[in-house]
Amino acid sequence: MTLLVGCLVLLVVAVVLLGLFRDLLYSALALAAASVLLSVVLFQFGANIAAVFELSVCAGLITVLFVSTVSLTKDSDQGVESRLPARFLLPMLVVFAAVAYGGSHWLASYLTAPAPPVGAPASFAEAFWGQRGTDVLGQVAIILAGVLGVLAVFRAKLAGGHHD
C-alpha cells in the first residue's frame, strides 16, 4: 500500500514537472519516468500485461520517438514560448487533490461490489494477439502516424529546405 501511494504521488509530481520544464528533452524524460511509475502501479494492481506494455511501449518506444523529435528541433528557438506562472502550481495541485479525493469517495459510494473480472488471458501472446490483436493493429497505426507526422512536419528540414 505504501509503495502504491508513493508511486501515485511521484506519478503526479512527474506529470506536473513534465508541464513545467522549458526544455522539451527534460519533459520527454519526465514522461518516461511517469510511464515507469504507472507501470509499477499497474503491477501493484495485478495488471501485469498492461504494465509490461506500458513499460516497453510508453516508457521505451515513445520516449525514443520523443527524444528523436526533440533532437531534430533542438536548434529551434524555444525562448519565446510562454508558460503558466509558477504561482498557479500550488492552487492547481490543491484543486487536483480535492477533485481526486472527492471524486474517488463519490465513486466508491456507487461501486459497492468489485467489478466483475474482465477475463484473465492465459499468456502474454494470448493477450496480445488472441484478445486484443485489433488493438495492437491500431497501436501500430498510431505509432506509424506519429512517425510519419514527425517526418512530414520536418520534411523541409530533412530535405535540406527543398520540397520534393
Binding site: 456507487y110 488472441g130 485489433t134 493493429l137 497505426a141 502516424a145 512536419v153 520534411r155
Partner: protein, 479 residues
Amino acid sequence: MEGLVGTLFLTPLVGALLMPWVSKLGRRAADAFVTLAMVVTVVTCLLLLPGAASTCTFEWLGAHVEVDGLSLLFLVVVNGVGLCCAVYSIDYIGHYGGRAKFFSLLLLMVMGLNGMVLVRDLFSLYLFLEVASVAAYVLVAYNLEFDGIEASLKYLLLSVVATGMVLIGISLILATTGTLGFAGLRAALAGGAASNPVLMLAAGLFVAGFGLKAAVVPFHAWLPDAHPSAPAPISAMLSGVVIKVAGVYALVRLFFGVYAAPPHVLRALLILGLLSMVVGAVVAYFQTDFKRLLAYSSISQIGYILIGLGIGNWFGIVGALFHVLNHAIFKSLLFLNSGAVQYRTGTRDIREMGGLENRMRVTGVTSVFGTLSIAGVPPFGGFFSKLFIILGAVAAKQWVVAFLTVFFSIFTLGYFLYLQRRVFFGKLNEKWNELKEAPAAMSVAVVVLAATTLLVGVFFDSVLRGLIEPAARVLVGGN
C-alpha cells in the same frame, strides 16, 4: 465476410506502410498506389452492401467486429469521400511536397475511421479514434505555414480534452459494469442506466467528448481554424467524414445502441443540434474567407443531423442519417471547389474574387450543384434529407423545431447564393483574366461528387431503401 472486413483494416494500413517505398518508383506510382488502395476499400464496401439489411458479427484478431446497416452507411461515406479526396490530391498536393507522407497519413486516417465503424468495443473505438486523430493533426498542419500549425495545435489541444473525457467515461463504465463490449454493456445497462449517477456522468462525458469531435456548439472552437487551414482534400475529409464518424457515429452508436436512447440525452442532442444549426449559419453569413464560411456551415449542418437524432422518431432518424450521407457528399464537393479556387487564385478571400465561373467552368458548375444541395433545393440529395428531418419534427409536434429548420434552410440558401455571386458569378475581376481551370484529377473528383449529389436526390428512393433505412433500423432496434 471476415476477409472483406479484414480488407477494410489492412488495405489502408499496408498501403500506408508501403507508400514510402512505392513512391521511390516515381510520382505516378505513388498516385496509382493510393488510388488503387482506396478503390479496393470502396469496392469492398460495395461488396458488403447487399448485406445491409442483416447484421453479421464475428471475431477478428480477437476483437468483436460487426457489420450492420449503420456501419455500412458510414463505411460508404468514409471510403467514397476518401477515394475522391485521394484522386483530387494527385494534382493538388504537388505544391506542398511530401507526397508519399501525405498519402500515407490519408490512408491511416481512413484506416482509423474504418476501424471506429467496425469495432464493437469502447476501448477499441477510442483507439481507432486516436489513429484517425493523430493523422488528422499532422494533415491539418501540412502546409507548414503559421495558420496551419496554429490550427493544428488548437485542434490537438481541444481533441486531447475530448479524448480525455471519453477515456474517463470509458473508465467509469468499466468500473461500474466490468465490460466494454457493446453487447455486454447493453445487457448491463438495460433499464438501470438512468438511475445510476456514475453511468449518467459517463454519458455526459461522452456527449461532451464526442460532441467536441463533432464540433457541436459550444464545443466547436477548433473547427473554424482547422478546416480552412488544412489542404483542401483534408478539409473535405474533416468536414465530410471525420466529424461525422468521430462525433456523430460514436454518439449514435453509444446512445442508441448501448444506452437505448434515454429521453434526456435525446433532448440534449436536440438542444445542441438547434444551437449548432443557428450559431453555425449566423456566423457563416459574416465570413469573407471561402473555407471558413464552409467550416461554419458544417457546424450548422451537423446541427441538422443532431436535430433529426434528437427528435428520435423514424422520420427524424432517417432524415439525420440521410443528411450524414448528403452532407458528406456536398460539403466535400464544396471544400474541394474552394481548394481549386485557392489553387488557382492563391486566395481564400471571397471579396477578391468574382466571375470565376468564366474561367473555371467545371469548378463553378459543380459548386452550384453543391450549393443547391446544401440549401435543400430539389431534386438534390440535401432536399430529401432536410425534408425528412422537418417531417420528423412535425410528426413529433415540435413546431418550433420544424419552423427553425425550414427558416435556416432558407437562410443557408441565402448565404450560399451570396457566396456563389461573389466568387463565381458577376463581373470577372480583371486580375483573374489569365485564370485556368483546375488540373484534371481535381476536376474529375469534383465532377464525381457533383454527379453523386444529384443522383442521390433523383434516386432517393433506392438510396433510402438500400442504405439509409437499414441503418435507421439498427438505431430503432437498438442493435
